[in-house]
């Protein structure tokens, strides 16, 4: 039991976010009245208290707002060293997650990242990997679509 991943405990407010993750979709809450995007979910918009809310899919692209490297193991299922980051998504919402497939010494604040869903104890978690050559990819895509 000790080595089982400390998985999220979905509540009525957060289960739609985690359910979407199981479909490999990253979604945030958005207020249909004032447009405020937010996480985690709640009964009303924390800006204007409207209960007219929707889940909105996001691109999964973002950048590193801050990051730290755990050099001490706090949970046996998550051995150190590992990187915990605050990721700023394209719509400005921040998300605590891990940066994976990247050496700690290569991470920088402002680095472009992309969501990557990783299965832990049968549950998919939204983690982030560095986006390599973002601009090139973007230009290629644009070039293809104009053909």
């Amino acid at each position: 039991m000790e080595n089982e991943y400390p998985l999220p405990q979905p509540t009525p407010f957060t289960e739609s976010f985690w359910d979407a993750c199981q479909q490999e979709l990253l979604q945030v809450w958005r207020c249909k009245v004032c447009g405020h995007p937010f996480l985690p979910g709640g009964p009303v918009c924390p800006e204007c208290w409207s209960d007219d809310l929707e889940m909105q899919p996001v691109s999964g692209r973002g950048e590193v707002f801050s990051f730290v490297v755990y050099h001490r193991t706090y949970h046996p299922a998550i051995p150190a060293p590992y990187i915990v980051a605050s990721i700023e998504l394209e719509n400005g919402v921040h998300l605590i997650s891990n940066i994976i497939d990247c050496k700690p010494e290569m991470v920088r604040i402002g680095m472009q990242v992309q969501v990557a869903f990783k299965q832990k104890s049968g549950f998919k978690l939204p983690m982030f990997t560095p986006t390599v050559h973002t601009n090139t990819t973007f230009q290629l895509k644009r070039g293809n679509s104009s053909v």
Partner: protein, 377 residues
């Protein structure tokens, strides 16, 4: 009739690893010492407010903390309660006692902090909600995120965090009650290794068993008491309940809202404060508060603390007893007690000559809560 509240007594148990002691037993010891220091007797106490440390929680089984402690002390108070503001709690219960005394709800209010986390191992390492899935355990990770932002935004260096730790240890070397009395060198600071990078071992506060208490009473009631009175010059709170999803969560403290306001209302500028007691769970929090309270400009705290400025004999000594980093984890109550001792002239080898004003802060939970208290002679 003068109901103006003041601090008339302080006391604390030993701090450290106290095998066989419980939080409640330590709290009783601290309460007895504070009442004795004030020159009062148990029958005088008619108020009890408590700040149970994180390893206790506010409930001891189903018994609220104030009730469990009050029963052991044999009290039937006119006013009571506990606060759960994390590290902002000790200052918060003193504020509450001041309000209760000035409103006439009680006349002698005991304010007690206590905890015994070393006998409840791991209690500081809990995760905060679903962030556990990403390994964000303990308070160090959160504060490391803030530290990394400070380095990014303002060019602050790890050695500048080290300056805060070194100053704390230099102060503690003059405090016979401190757990860490050996001074720290920059070389030792750097070689100790990271807990959560960029925070190293000496950037993180101690974990201690112990309890501390303060007696708040009215000027009338205190007229014939033993010790010099410590006046309340101002107090306030500000909180940031934004989640880690809020854009500026790691870049600012709510202290920036209540700190300047409290000083302003008291008619004081930062330069008027003689004794600066800042909650120091991590070195980064000291830097952020120096900025938030206006001791230096935003972004400049890193260079401000260089060359021993906040150490003994510096131009702005901070946490003269060694603070949470080097004296003991006293929840914030030991910060208040040190301020009282400085204002009374009882601080012995670490006395700031002619100290007349003191500022004490509390900071808690996931960088959510902040409390401020300004004291004077």
């Amino acid at each position: 009739m003068n109901r103006e509240a003041l601090i008339a007594g302080v006391g604390h148990s030993p701090f450290g690893k106290l095998t066989g002691r419980t939080a409640l037993d330590l709290e009783v010891e601290a309460a007895i010492k504070a009442i004795a220091d004030a020159g009062l007797s148990p029958q005088d106490v008619d108020g009890l407010v408590t700040d149970p440390g994180p390893a206790q929680g506010i409930l001891n089984g189903i018994t609220p903390h104030y009730l469990a402690l009050g029963q052991l002390l044999g009290l039937n108070p006119r006013y009571t309660g506990s606060e759960i503001l994390g590290g902002a709690g000790s200052v918060a219960i003193i504020q509450r006692a001041v309000m209760a005394v000035e409103a006439g709800l009680c006349s002698v209010c005991l304010c007690v902090y206590g905890d015994a986390p070393l006998s409840a191992k791991g209690s500081f390492d809990y995760a905060r909600g679903d962030e556990a899935a990403f390994g964000l355990f303990g308070a160090a990770g959160l504060h490391a995120l803030a530290a990394k932002r400070h380095m990014h935004l303002w060019g602050t260096t790890e050695n500048q965090f080290g300056e805060v730790a070194i100053a704390a240890r230099a102060h503690a070397a003059r405090n016979p009650n401190a757990q860490l009395q050996k001074p720290l060198t920059m070389k030792e600071y750097r070689e100790a290794g990271y807990i959560v990078e960029p925070l190293k071992k000496a950037d993180c506060c101690l974990i201690s068993d112990g309890a501390a208490a303060v007696v708040v009473t009215s000027a009338d009631r205190a007229a014939d008491l033993l010790k010099p009175h410590t006046r309340i010059l101002g107090y306030g709170q500000a909180h940031n309940f934004g989640t880690y999803s809020s854009p500026d969560h790691f870049d600012s403290l709510p202290a920036a809202r209540c700190g300047p306001e409290v000083l302003n209302k008291a008619g004081l500028a930062p330069s008027d404060i003689d004794v600066v007691q800042l909650y120091d769970c991590f070195t980064i929090v000291v830097l952020m508060q120096l900025e938030a309270y206006g001791f230096c400009a935003k972004g400049e705290a890193g260079s401000f603390v260089e060359h021993g400025r906040i150490g003994p004999g510096g131009s702005l000594p901070v946490n003269t007893s060694g603070g949470l980093l080097a004296e003991a984890y006293g929840g914030g109550m030991l910060h208040v007690i040190e301020a009282v001792r400085q204002l009374r002239g009882e601080a012995e080898d670490r006395q700031i000559q002619g100290a007349e004003t003191a500022l004490i802060s509390g900071h808690g939970l996931g960088m959510n809560t902040h409390t401020t208290l300004v004291l004077g002679v």
